[in-house]
């Protein structure tokens, strides 16, 4: 018999309606396993930050339960909050404080005994060691983002929430962040991140959750999601333009480009037969020749856009 692993984070029927009547979370249910990276995708105002804030205790949910490592976030808030690290979306820092002091503050605030060695390790891991005596106001946006991550890691959390961690940072820093996230995962930290950057989810997440208008539309293993919902296409650059698609090819899902020189065939990559071989045979029979052939895989972004449009 397989042992059932208790999720590190369990959200059940979570609802939040703000004072102005706006329902930001609608009956959210989600379970996250220890050590996984889950990316929450959603357009602006979808409820991603509200969901994170409700779990961390910044927003008060109207109903529902959330447990972290088996502890209820309301009843056992000391336990749950000491397990959680939060990197907020906004670059909120104490301008006149030094990098070192702000980490020491965070560690103490979360109930951990001072540990200079750990603070040093975190600062070095985030390439902040040489900035440790700098005041936060002197740092660039990217560096401040790193400091916020360092603050969240200062108390050695088992669950880390990253609310749009790479918003407004350059490509190289973004890739550094992905590396850091991967290293944290390797250390056993469970990571829940929200992002607008689909490639971020594609690059680092194990599972992807899509939120729209306060509802979780789906939560799926990233690879399975892409193979399930991702269309695969073959694009053929024709030698001669084609006036119309011949009747002999009507059985295929074909599209002719506007300038009539490209045919695109969409197929199910998980199907028993993709139909590519017979298509190529039928093209030859119809005297249609091509000079080049490309296959195209739907990106997570395409999937995300489709899902949000469908749910809207």
């Amino acid at each position: 018999m397989n042992a059932v692993t208790e999720p590190i984070l369990s959200i059940q029927n979570l609802n939040k309606t703000f004072a102005d009547g706006f329902q930001a979370l609608k009956n959210i249910n989600l379970e996250i396993q220890k050590g996984e990276i889950i990316a929450l995708l959603g357009p602006n105002g979808a409820g991603k930050t509200t969901l994170i804030s409700a779990i961390c205790g910044i927003v008060q949910a109207n109903s529902g339960t959330v447990t972290v490592a088996g502890y209820d976030i309301a009843r056992d808030y000391r336990k749950t909050r000491s397990i959680i690290g939060l990197v907020p979306q906004e670059l909120s820092t104490d301008s006149f404080e030094t990098v070192w002091n702000t980490l020491v503050f965070s560690r103490g605030l979360f109930g951990k005994k001072a540990n200079s060695a750990h603070i040093e390790k975190v600062l070095k891991a985030l390439s902040l060691w040489d900035k440790k005596d700098n005041m936060l106001m002197t740092l660039s946006g990217g560096m401040k983002r790193r400091v916020l991550i360092a603050k969240a890691l200062s108390h050695e959390p088992a669950v880390l929430f990253l609310d749009e961690p790479t918003a407004g940072v350059d490509v190289s820093l973004r890739k550094d962040m992905w590396k850091i996230v991967q290293e944290l995962k390797n250390d056993g930290v469970t990571i829940i991140l929200t992002t607008h950057y689909i490639e971020e989810a594609e690059e680092i997440a194990d599972r992807v959750g899509v939120i729209n208008a306060g509802e979780i539309i789906l939560v799926e293993d990233k690879t399975e999601l892409m193979s399930k919902l991702g269309k695969k296409q073959v694009s053929l650059d024709l030698c001669d333009p084609l006036a119309t698609i011949p009747k002999s090819l009507a059985g295929y899902s074909l599209e002719l480009s506007e300038n009539k020189d490209q045919l695109t065939y969409t197929f199910d990559s998980l199907g028993d037969r993709t139909g590519i071989t017979s298509l190529l045979d039928d093209l030859k029979a119809a005297d249609i020749y091509f000079r080049d052939l490309n296959t195209i895989q739907s990106s997570l972004e395409d999937i995300f856009v489709n899902l949000v449009e469908e749910s809207s």
């Binding site: 703000f18 004072a19 804030s53 961390c56 205790g57 910044i58 927003v59 008060q60 808030y77 000391r78 336990k79 749950t80 909050r81 000491s82 959680i84 939060l86 907020p88 906004e90 909120s92 820092t93 104490d94 301008s95 006149f96 404080e97 002091n101 020491v104 503050f105 965070s106 560690r107 103490g108 605030l109 979360f110 109930g111 951990k112 005994k113 001072a114 603050k151």
Partner: protein, 253 residues
């Protein structure tokens, strides 16, 4: 009890004071010295004695109380308002800390600064006038209770305020007039009977009177009434803070 969190907040706030030493300590000391020069030397030379005490010595408890009230309120209100304003309050709200621990950290630091300031002003006063303190323990108790209570009031103000104007309304439009009209610089005996009665409704009178009694054993109201009043007000303020955190008033959405 999360002692590490209490100490983290406390040290953080005290560090802020060290960074703003001129604003926190030097400025109040200079302004108090000016009070001594203007009220004590210039005006005091025309008022011989009040209740058997020289006018310069008479105003010392009032000056200490003025500074305790103003700085307790501003220290504590600023301490919680700024994290709200810049957004760093998320960390405190998401930390494994209870309301009592948050209050101990923020209010404790604000009160500590006020107490230090009060003692510095007391020391400054000795440069201008000879002082005697009949009941030093009661004096310290009053300074302690007042600092804690008005730091709690400032904390409430900082949570309530959602702009800088609101932050300054209570100290400038309510506390300052109450202090000036609460017998800080005069004895209520000097007022016409009607205004003497009106002054009894001013809560600051009880504080100034109580502190003055600890110095010179002269007071407008009974010392016990003063002590009970300040303790009751402290409990009221603490209850309001507890309520604010429990309901998330202007802290959690």
């Amino acid at each position: 009890m999360n002692f590490y969190a209490v100490m983290a907040i406390y040290k953080f706030e005290m560090a802020r004071t060290r960074r703003t030493l001129v604003q926190s300590i030097v400025a109040p000391v200079i302004s108090t010295s000016l009070y001594f020069i203007v009220f004590g030397a210039a005006i005091g030379s025309r008022i011989t004695e009040v209740g058997g005490v020289s006018y310069g010595a008479f105003i010392v408890p009032g000056l200490i109380m003025l500074n305790l009230l103003m700085h307790s309120i501003s220290n504590a209100s600023f301490a919680i308002y700024m994290p709200k304003f810049v957004g760093t309050v998320y960390e405190v709200l998401s930390a494994p800390v209870s309301t009592v621990e948050v209050v101990l950290g923020y209010v404790g630091a604000a009160a500590t600064k006020s107490i230090i300031l009060g003692l510095i002003i007391l020391a400054t006063a000795t440069f201008f006038i000879p002082l005697r303190i009949e009941h030093p323990v009661i004096m310290l108790l009053f300074v302690f209770l007042t600092s804690i209570t008005f730091s709690l009031l400032g904390f409430i103000l900082g949570i309530w305020a959602d702009n800088f104007e609101k932050l300054s309304i209570v100290p400038s439009l309510i506390v300052t007039p109450l202090v000036f009209l609460g017998g800080s610089f005069y004895s209520t005996d000097m007022l016409p009977p009607f205004w003497q009665s009106v002054t009894l409704f001013n809560p600051v009178l009880y504080l100034v009177s109580g502190l003055r009694w600890s110095f010179y054993e002269i007071s407008e109201v009974n010392i016990l009434v003063s002590l009970v009043s300040i303790t009751a007000f402290m409990l009221l303020c603490f209850s309001i803070v507890l309520y604010m955190f429990k309901t998330g008033y202007k802290l959690r959405t």
